[in-house]
Every structure is written in C-alpha cells, then in structure tokens.
C-alpha cells in the first residue's frame, strides 16, 4: 500500500510539473496578463506599465519566471493575485474547502441513490425498477448541468425553501444542509447516470454468480445476499469510476457554483479568467489538478481495501472474473 502511494505520488508530481509548465507557457506566450488589459484600456502610461511589470516581475524571460514560480511553489507560496491583491493561497483555501464539501455531498448523494436504485433494478431484469432505472440513466445522462442548474434556480426563485446566494465571500460559508442541497443535487444528477448504469450492470452480473447461489443456499435473506455479497463484487468498477467522477464534479462546479451562488473554486476560476488574473489562475489549475490526482489515488486505495485480490502480497495473482467491463455510459455533461 505504501509503495503504491509513494509511486503514485511521484508520478503525480511529474504530471503536475508538466501541467504547470504547459499552462504557464500558454498564459505567458499569449501575453495575457492583467496589465495588457490595463494598457489596452489606456488607463496607464507607458512608464507606469513598465514600473508595474518590474514590480510583478513580468519583465524577466519566461524560463526565469517559471523557475521562480516553481521555487516559490515549493516554499508554499503561489504569488499574489492581481485582482484580489492578496496571496493566492489565502484566496484559494476557503474556496477549496467549500468546493470539496460540495463535491463530497454530491458524490455521496449520487452513489447512495445509484446503489439503492441499482440494487432494486438488478434483482429482476425487465422489472418496473429495471425499466425505471434505464429511463433515469437516459434522462440524467442527457441533462446538462447548466440546464439543471438554471431549472433549480427557477425552482428556488419560485419557492422560498432554500436560502440562495449570500454565502459570505470572505468567511467560511455556513454549510447548512438546505444551502448545500440545491448545488449538490445539480452536481450529483449527471453522475447518477454513470454510477447507476455501472451499479445495475455490476450487480446483475454478480447476482448470477456461484457465490451468490451459495449465499442464497445458506438461507440468507435476499437483502443480505445483495448488500454483503453481491455488492462487494460490483463495487470495484464503481470505485474506479469514482476517480473519474471527481474530475467531472470539479468541471461541473464551474457552472453550478456560478449559477447557484456557491463561492467555491469553480466560481473563482471563472473570475480568474474574467480578470485575466494569471497567478490566481495558475493556483486554481494546480490545486484542481492536485485534487483530481488525489481523488484518483484515493479511489485506487479504496479499490485495494475492497478487493483482496488486488493486494499484491496475499493470494497469487489471478485474473479477475468479469475483467474490466466497459462502462455503459458516456461522460456526463459539464
């Protein structure tokens, strides 16, 4: 386990360096910085611009700037935001917490709903639950988050059940269930398609296997057969999906947070683009990439905890039954 964590962390660092170099070069090469905007608006004289460039260190060559940025990053400093005039880390931190809370809520909702409906659907093929879940998959897979978010906003506007917006910009927002529910549901629904399809297929596959027969023959109640025996076998691909879903949630949070007023990382990245705040954007990109890589690693660890066959030292390597079943469903919309 430790070996896995170490090697994956090392790989992750390499990927992060590549990502940061690409992003840095892209943002710098196009000459896109907040000062360019300032100059085009004619709000600053040539001398002021030069002075500002010197202050922010924008007059050095690209490689030197990148090296400096990298060294600072290693020391835990991500520079200062052009727009917010504050260290990038202090801006990102509270928003990262909010987005992670939102992502956790969304993933929890999606997984629990999918597992419940999937278990009901897998019991008998062609049953009402089975057909219902097929419809749910089709609908949730093809409803984009932007549409869902606006419909939710319309519902929120019509009713007064949910508090909306107004979550403090600078303080930690209160994570009351009512406030987190609308954005979490919007984030979760497209994931339901992904998880439900896999849960249904995995469970019906598992229920047809011998060890389930054995469990039934022992006289276990059907509920125990499904939850304790079949589910464990069906969980593996779901956990692998989990890593993917994390990226999807982060992507989706850009829209959802903007529309539903949840001041997290997604909404922040939009602002960073709007104000062409390069240091902030670099910070957001790095944090996001780190979060996604960490999510993938987390999924891998979970996978090994769930499936003893994947742990290297015990039982000799054996090909997994079922192999890697291909996913039945496409990526949910951003």
């Amino acid at each position: 386990m430790l070996k896995l964590i170490l090697s994956r962390t090392l790989q992750g660092v390499v990927v992060l360096v590549v990502v940061s170099a690409l992003t840095f070069a892209l943002l710098a090469a196009a000459g896109g910085d907040a000062l360019g905007e300032l100059a085009s608006e004619g709000g600053a004289s040539e001398a002021t611009l030069r002075e500002l460039r010197r202050v922010y260190g924008l007059d050095e060559p690209l490689a030197a700037r990148y090296a400096r940025w990298l060294v600072n990053l290693a020391r835990g400093r991500m520079g200062e935001s052009f727009y917010y005039h504050a260290p990038v880390a202090t801006i990102i931190w509270p928003r990262l917490v909010r987005t992670l809370a939102l992502a956790a809520a969304a993933l929890l909702l999606a997984v629990s709903f999918s597992l419940a409906l999937g278990a009901l659907a897998a019991r008998r093929q062609g049953s009402l639950w089975d057909r219902a879940s097929e419809l749910v998959i089709l609908l949730t897979a093809s409803t984009p988050r932007i549409v869902l978010a606006l419909i939710t906003l319309a519902i929120v506007a019509r009713t007064s059940w949910f508090p909306i917006g107004g979550a403090g910009e600078e303080t930690l927002a209160d994570f009351s269930p009512l406030r987190i529910l609308p954005p979490a549901v919007v984030l979760a629904l497209p994931l339901v398609a992904l998880f439900l399809a896999q849960a249904r297929e995995g469970l019906s596959h598992a229920l047809a296997q011998d060890f389930v027969q054995v469990a039934r023959a022992k006289g276990l109640p059907e509920r125990t057969v499904i939850v304790r025996h079949a589910l464990r076998d069906a969980l593996n691909p779901l956990i692998t999906l989990f890593g993917y879903a994390f990226g999807s949630v982060v992507s989706g949070s850009v829209i959802v947070e903007t529309v539903l007023g949840w001041p997290g990382l997604g909404a922040l990245s939009v602002n960073a683009v709007r104000y062409r705040d390069v240091p902030l954007l670099m910070g957001v990109v790095m944090i996001t990439a780190t979060a996604v890589l960490a999510g993938n690693l987390f999924a891998d660890i979970l996978l090994r905890l769930n499936d003893p066959r994947l742990r290297p030292r015990r039982a000799p390597a054996r090909t997994r039954r079922g192999g890697s079943r291909s996913l039945d469903l496409p990526a949910p919309g951003a």
């Binding site: 549409v147 606006l150 909306i164 683009v273 496409p330």
Partner: protein
Amino acid sequence: MTDTQPPHPSDTRDAPTTPTQTAWERAHAAPVNWRGRARRRLARRWKLIAGLGIVSTFYVVAVLASFIAPYDASEQSRQQPLAPPTTIRFRDSEGRWQVRPFIYRLRLTDPLARTYSEDTSARFPLKLFPRGHSYKLFGLFQTDRHLFGVAHDLSRRSGAPQNSDATQNATATQSATQSANASPPPPPRVYLLGTDEFGRDRLSRLLMASRFSLAVGPLGTLLAGVLGVFLGCVSGYAGRRVDALLMRAADAMLALPDLVLILAARAAFPLVLPPARAGALLVGIFIAIGWAEMARLARGMVLGLREREFVLAAVSLGLTETRILFRHILPNASRPLVVQLSLMLPAFLLAETALSFLGVGVQEPAASWGNMLVSASNLTLLGQQPLVLLSPAFAIFLFVLGVRLLSDGLRRDGDLRAR
C-alpha cells in the same frame, strides 16, 4: 465490422428456411410472425432512429434558421422589452371563432413593471410566407420570404367583414379612414417566445443561436477526433520515442478536468472577440484539448489490431506502412472511434454553451444558446417567465438527448454485430 448498412426491418434473410429442413418441416412450421419480427427489430434500434431524427431535425432547422425566424435576430424594438409570448387566438374578444389564427396588438401599459395588455380593437391574422427582412438562403439566394408573420388588419383592407356588429364596425372604419390617409401602421409583431430586454424576438435569436452552437461544438469535436485518431495511429504504430512523448502529453491533458483546462486556455486570449473569431478560437481550443482522449483510444485499437492476421497479410503483400495503417487497420477500428466521437460531442457543445454563458465565449449581440441563458440567471426575471427564459436550455437538453440516443444506438448496433 466495416459493413455499416443496418439490415432493413423487412429483411427476409433470416427466414426460417434452412437447407437442412425437410419439405414436411417447412410445410408444418409455425407461421412466421413477420410483423412482430419487424417490430422487434425496429424496437431494438429505436434509439438509433430517434437520435438520428432529433439530431437531423436540429440541423435542418439550423440551416433554414433565417427562413423560419420571423425577424432579424439583432433587430430591437425598444417599445416592447421583455414582452410575454404573443397569444395566438382563434376566438375574438366577442367569442366568435375565426378561420385564420390571429393576434391582437400588445401595448406596454406600465413601462416599469413591464405589464402588457392586448388591444382588442383590431385583429391581425397570421400569414404564411410573408415578406420580411432580406437574407440569403443557404448563403446563396437573396430572398425576403419567411415562414410566418403577421398580416395587416383585416377590417381595414376589406372594408368590414363583421357587418353584424355596428358599434365595433364604427370604430373599425374610423381607424381605417385614419390610417388610409397616413401611411398604414405596421402590423404588430408576433413573438412566440416573447422578447428579451432589448425587445428582440427570442424565437429568432434562438434559431440563429442554434447555428452557432451547432457549428462550434461539433466542428471542434470532429477536428479533435481527426487529429486524435491521426496522432493515436502514429503513436500506436510508429513506436517507442514518439509513443512515449505523445502519451505523456495526453496524460497531462487528461489530468485536468475538461472545463478547467478550456477556461485556462481561454484566458490566454483577449476576452472580447468578434463572434466569428471567438468561434474559431473555441474550435481551436477544443482541438488542442480533445485530441488526447481520442488518441488514447485510437492507440489502443491500433495496438490491438496490429498483431492480427490481416495486417500480416497486408505486410506480406508488400504494402506501405501508411497504407496498412490507414486503409487496413483504421477501418477496423472505426466503430468504437465513432462512438467515442459521439460521446465527446455533448461535452464540447456544453463547453461552448458554458463559456458563452460565462461571458467568455460568443458575446452579445451575436446569439448563442449559452449567452441567451444569461438572462435566465436573473432571479426576478426567472420568477416571472421561467419557461420562456429556459427555452435555450430545453433546446440544449433536446439536442444532447438526441446525440446520446444516437451514440447509445450506435453502440448497441455494434454489440449486436459483434455477437
């Protein structure tokens, strides 16, 4: 695998007359339920058919957008901001049924609260193929005909059709004589989806926006697919150095969520761009980002197919590597690649919508489904006219549903064949 022609439902190839059957068996076999069989076959690919239907309808409408749209998408009528959808009537205010559907003129009664009332003194029938603003159909033919519009007041042109009602007649003829002297006032406009803040017809904007939204995302997907397949093939067939380099680059691309990557790339370019250049930029970004996933898949397919016998056969025939790669291996990998392409399409269509919605994609006054949705994020407006404001959202939903059905159908079709 390469045979893409689906068997027709009424295909008789699998009639249960096999050579091993005796004449007696054939004579006494249960009658074949052809109709049921056809229905089952059709049901099996209803997704493919429905998806194809929806997607092609969208494209036909987009091509004919300026014909179907009753008004110019950027033409403002400042007197009628945020008008509700025009009611199309068959009964007039006195309860008489009319042959032709008609509308009443809307008047802005309270400019602040934006309340409108109908002026029931004159009926304006709807008309097919009226003249309107001129445009080029298919970019070729100059014309000014549109699908529908509003005709002039009936009572003015033909004297008074409703002779029975004297009092109404009097007002009608009065207004008729007034307007006969001055130039006749233009007929009111019909707004099937109401107007936006600037008094622009929402339906026309929705239609013109479909052109943009249906071009940028799909074009980006297609080109990204082509580039990805090319790089993937090269990576899978060419060998180690190139392979390692390309796949590490793909890894870096795939480490970041789509939308974050697109946003970061977008930030490198000026924020305000004319619509055509913004569209081209988005297509460019989609190509730069979308190739990675496609290249992964294509590489895997090529690696798998490279060892097959038909490739060996092609090699022994002395064919060149490029010919083997693109004429022999690629066609065999085509179906999963097409399915993957159809999975990428909604993602990029939605990315375009999202960027336009966030104000960094296609910007006003050009219309895109995304930037039309901006007014839907206004809480007060959304409370007043939710359905109308969300109409671009429904268009997006329907199109994405169509694409999903299509890709689902394609994949099922592929499974069937593989069996």
